[in-house]
Structures are given as C-alpha cells and as structure tokens.
Symmetry: C2
Subunit: 396 residues, 2 copies
C-alpha cells in the first residue's frame, strides 16, 4: 500500500509550508515534539481525512524529523496511506485490541513511538483542551513517558491555520457557494404544512450534493433549525412537528468543500412578520454592515465587535455572546477554529486571508434573529464568502 | 422560563429509575458526586438535548441531592429548560466570557458549583476518557477543587444505559425503520453515472425525513460510503467522483429517532459481481447468522464472537477487529456505547433489552464486505432491529 498514490487536496509544497510554520512556533515555545490530536489539525498537517477520531489517534511532529508520523487504529492506516503524503514508514498503527479496552490504552502505544524515536526525555507539546485529547489520554501518555516534560500547546496549530492560502480560499468559496444553494433550498421548501425534519431534509440534500464542480460533504454539525417558540434556542435538535403559520425560523448551517466550511445563519419568516420583528431584523443587518465596514488588515477583533455593538446599541439592543470566530477545516463538534474571537478584549490583528463567521444573532426571552456573514479579510477590506443577501427572508 | 413545560421523551418515572441506577453504582464505588460530561449520558439522565457540547457542560449527580444539576453556556440554558425536567434552580449556566477564553475556563465555574453545594471535599467521579472531558477540563477542575478526591467513573453511566426500556426500544425500532428506508434509497439511487456525494445526498435526504410517525435526525456521524478502490477503507470521507461500473460500495449508516441510533452496513455492487466476491459476501452472511443463533440472555459477548469466528474460519477468513458493540443514544463522534465488545475475552453476559450492532465487516488488502445486523436481546433469543435482508445488494 506504500505504493498507492495518495489523493491530496494541496501541493506537497503547501503542506511543507504549514509544517514549517508549526515547527517555528514549536521552536519559539521550546517544544521539541508535538502530539497533535485535534482532527482538523491532523488534516491540516498531513491531509489525513477519515471519520476515525472516535478512537485515539495522533500526528506527531518533531523538530528533528522532516516528516510527521501518523498513528491510529490499524484499520484506519489504509486511509492514512490514501489521504496523506506520508511514506509507509511514517504510518504506525496500533492493533485492534487497544480499542476501548479495559487493559490497554492507545496512548501507551503512542508514547512508546515517542520513546523509540529517542524523544522520551524531550519537551512534549500536547493539545490540553482539544476535543479528543481526553483526561485519560493525557494521564496514559504521561505514565508512558515519565521523563518527558509536558507543555500545553493547545492552539499552536490552530493559530497557524488562521491565515488561509489561495488554494484554501478556493475551497472555502466553493463551500460558500453550496451554502447559498442551501439557503435557496430552505426558502423553497419552508411551508407551514411540512415538519421541521422535512425542511432539514431539503437543506441537507443540497448540502451533500454541493456544486457541479465540488461535491458536498457533511458539516461538523448538522444544520440547526430553530422554529417558532424555539427560535429563542441557539443549538436545539429539530423536531417532527409541523412548522405552522406566522413563525420565525432561524437556520444555522454550512456548505462544506474538502472539509472547509462556509457557515451562515438566516432568519426566515412564514407569514407576514409584525413590524417590530422586521425592525429587529433590520437592526441586526445594520449592525453587521457597520462591523464589516471596519474589516481590513490592521483592525483588531475587538474593533470589529465595537462597531457592531455601538450600532445596535442605538436601538437598545445588545448581544452578550461574542460576535464571531475564525472558520476553516472542521470536524465534529464545531466549525469554529477556537483561536481569535470577535469580542471586547481580543486584540488579534486582522490579516489578509483570515476568514471569520460573523455570528450576528440576537436572542431575547421570546425569540431571536440571526443574519450572519462569513467573510475573508482581503488586502483592502473584506470579501463576502457567501453571497446570500443579508435580510429577513419572508415566505408569504 | 422556569414555567415552560419541557418536552420530554420519557415519563418522569423512567428518568428517576435511570438516576437511581446511577446512584446505586456511585454508592457501590464510593463516589459521592458524579460530574457527567459525555453528551449521551447527560441526555440519558436529564433529557438534555442540544448540539452544544463544543463548549464545556456537565450534569452533576450527587448522592445527597434528589435531582441533578445542569450547567453549561448561558445561551444553552434555554434548551436545558425546554428539554429537561429540571427545575430552574437546578440549571446553572456560566456567562459567555468563559467561552474559549485565555483567562478563564468553564470548569472553574463548575468546580465552584460543587464547592458551593458543600461537596468540595467529597469523592468526585469524572469520566476520564469520555470524548468531551479534555485534559484541560480535568486539570482546571482539580485546581478548583483541591480537597476533592478524584476517581475515574468513565463508563459508569454507559453501563446503566446498556439495558434498554420498552420505550427506548420503541424509539430504536423507529430508528431501524428509517435505516431500512435509507437502504432502499441507496438501492434506488446508486448508479454508475452519479457521484458518491449524490448517492450520499439521496440517503441523507431520507435519513432526515425519517418515518411518517417519527421524524429523522442526523446520526453521530454522516453515512460512510466506501466505493470501488476505497471499499478497503472503513471510515473515509465520500468524494465527488462518478461511481463507475463493476464496483462494490460499502455503506455504513444509521437511522435515528430521538437520538437513538439503528446502525447498519450493507455492501452494494454496481454490475455483476465476480463469483469470488459473491462467495465472500455469502460467508459473511453465514457468519452473522451463526453468531445471531447463539444470542440469548446468559450468553457472553465472547461466545457470540466465537460463533462468528468459527464459522468464517471454515472459509479461511478472519476479522481482527471486534464483531460489535452496544448502541443507543448517540452524539458525535460515535454511535457506539463503549462498554461491552463482541470479542474474545469480553465476558459481559447478555441480558434482555441490550442492543448491539453486529459489525460484520471484513476487509482485505483490496476490498471489503460489510453486511451487519443490529439486534435486540429478547427473553428467548434476539430480534432484528432492522429488517433489510442480509445479502449482497446487486444493482445490475
């Protein structure tokens, strides 16, 4: 299988550049070896792409080794061969008796790889708060490598990911194109006499198809559909009740291309919205426009949020939650990259190539409006990643 | 919001019974307070259902408190009100400035709840290897509760979940009915001239709709579609290439009802399969039948696997991976419950009401066949949860 040509989404040179960026950060933080467990970071560095992160797996990056090592369950090694550029001797799977076993843990196996390479007494970076790096994984790795010095490197790779390349932006624009088709699908399907789950079905059908040029994929979470009385909930499951008349529906969703996400939220209204609801929506739209207006390289994240906050405050509105986050490659459970936040106190400076989802949703006790915009920071300002008009979508 | 009637999937008495089962195990293991972070366990004990587990959240069960406490992000408290039976004073959300912040961590807030209740010096059970209990969460909780004694309680709730109630089985059968519709959808859509993503679209459209009586939901992972040369990979992403002629397609997927999963895998063949491939499939089917034959209360997990192993060995076949796992409520990243395994050495004794996915897949270097069966252990034997015939599905 070492002979199989892998199907890579990027040139080898781009992966090398990413790895170089990570190694520079490792060096400056005094980390010799980085054990990467966040699935999107594993993908970013090697191309590895499989829904296998329900078992322990990792990509190991060492300063004194040119290429990383992939390690995971034996049956997934074939995906490591088919989706990464790694040579066969850098793909080191563990046997199946490590899987969900009471007697042995995959981190013992992974720790022994580190020790065998002579890195057992080095400084090891681990992603302490990453989703699939559990308390048990950490304890087992520490036990297996008693002489290593452990250092938290949770967002080290994520910070390298925040600026996208031209090729990444191409995939993200394709994801955004699918997102726009999903908005159209929702518009066409929404009707008082269908169930929430049927509306979801119509949207997801289009999400998976994608565009003619780029097929679709599942997003890190299924679309969120918040209808009627539940328009005040941000992350509920949809149900199987009829939508009914004269209700708002908030939908948050993302088209996906090669695991890159292009999120959006829109508020739909079945029937004729009361004037105060139209006003509510118009003010959210105004706030987003004001915030997008200040986006350009050199602006800080908190300045973007301040423009939004100041604008909606004119109308007596406020939003406790942050206004947005960077997005890109994603697996469950989130398409946020967890680095910068568009909020007060975040001094991250925008650079060309960054992509944020401006999550302009406001909820009150009774209801909510979400009209959001994913945008690329360009040399001079911003580019809308999705092209759906920012407006309340009325379905009469 | 404390006045809103929650929409519960089960009678209050059933939740009380579950809680009682968990408290008995806690008592026998010397655990005073259990911090439950696995989303499916949180759902099982309280009904809580939202796609919010990308932030830190927990359900806290204490022996000296009748009802559990839900804690999570402030904006998700509304879902705690609408999906659980908990009174308002048992729903304790943290403010948004805890979310993905460099300065503070939600586990400090959660630890303070424990301390404020007077449980700061008690024995605390935590789910060490659960997906969303990160190394950082554990470190922060330990830091906040220096006088507590920590004990691993990873699968404590999962083991209570392994035997399903009649009402749970009703939802699981509904999930299985959706699964069967998904098999039909795949059969109708599969064609050499469509792309893998279009086949996925046709399947997922039906998955989300579900049945007339019970709407569908997303599964813990999207369907896995492994076509042609990639039929030897177990967990790849689908792509946007045409399916083509004379290829096998393995599809693993699950219909879902109220978060309960009914998984299946089937191998489809576009064109006329060579005789050796038909034989390969027939032997997998034979192995499954032999294993199902020994299923009844009192049989051990390893005995079920042995029946399979012995049968396929006649044909020179073997499967390194375990033969299956229990399933039920699930969120990303897996619909497995992570307790028992159908494999050598697992002495778990089958009881009526247990549900397993017999994951009869065999892969070799070149290809694979997966013809699986989810089954309920009944008083006298087993019941097939899905009704799709166990056979190679040939699409000529």
């Amino acid at each position: 299988m070492g002979e199989t040509m892998a199907n890579l989404n990027f040139e080898r040179a781009e992966y090398a550049q990413r790895l170089d960026g990570v190694k520079k950060r490792m060096a400056s933080e005094g980390i010799d070896v980085l054990v990467v467990t966040e699935p999107s970071n594993m993908n970013y560095l090697t191309g590895y792409d499989a829904y296998s992160f329900y078992v322990v797996q990792a990509v190991i990056v060492a300063l004194d080794s040119e290429l990383p090592i992939w390690t995971g369950r034996f049956m997934d090694a074939v995906s490591a061969h088919s989706t990464t550029y790694l040579p066969a001797d850098h793909i080191l799977p563990y046997p199946d008796n490590y899987v969900q076993s009471a007697e042995r843990h995959p981190m013992e196996f992974i720790g022994r790889i580190v020790a065998d390479k002579g890195w057992g007494a080095k400084t090891l970076g681990v992603e302490m708060g990453a989703y699939y790096y559990t308390a048990r994984s950490h304890a087992e790795l520490q036990k297996t490598l008693p002489d290593a010095r452990f250092k938290d490197a949770e967002l080290l790779v994520n910070w390298v990911r925040i600026v996208k390349s031209e090729r990444e932006l191409e995939y993200m624009r394709a994801a955004g194109a699918t997102t726009d088709l999903m908005v159209e699908a929702a518009k066409n399907a929404a009707h008082p006499d269908i169930r929430e789950c049927d509306l979801a079905s119509a949207i997801v059908e289009v999400q998976m198809k994608g565009t003619e040029r780029f097929g679709g994929m599942p997003s890190s979470g299924a679309p969120l559909i918040m209808a009627g009385a539940r328009a005040n909930e941000p992350h509920p499951a949809w149900n199987d009740q009829l939508l009914g008349n004269d209700i708002p529906i908030n939908i948050e969703m993302a088209g996906v291309c090669r695991r890159y996400h292009g999120p959006i939220s829109r508020t739909f209204y079945l029937g004729s919205p009361p004037q105060d609801y139209r006003d509510f929506a118009a003010r959210v739209v105004e706030g987003v426009a004001a915030a997008l207006d200040v986006v350009k390289p050199g602006t800080t994240c908190e300045e973007v949020e301040a423009a939004w906050r100041k604008t909606i405050a004119k109308w007596g509105l406020e939003k406790e939650a942050r206004l947005g986050y960077p997005t890109g490659i994603a697996y469950a459970p989130t398409w946020g990259e967890r680095t910068a936040s568009l909020r007060k106190g975040d001094l991250t400076v925008l650079e060309a190539g960054m992509v944020f989802h401006m999550m302009a949703g406001i909820w009150n006790e009774a209801t909510g409006v979400t009209i959001t915009q994913t945008f690329i920071v360009t040399d001079t300002g911003h580019e809308d990643l999705t092209k759906s008009p920012r407006e309340l979508i009325v379905i009469d």
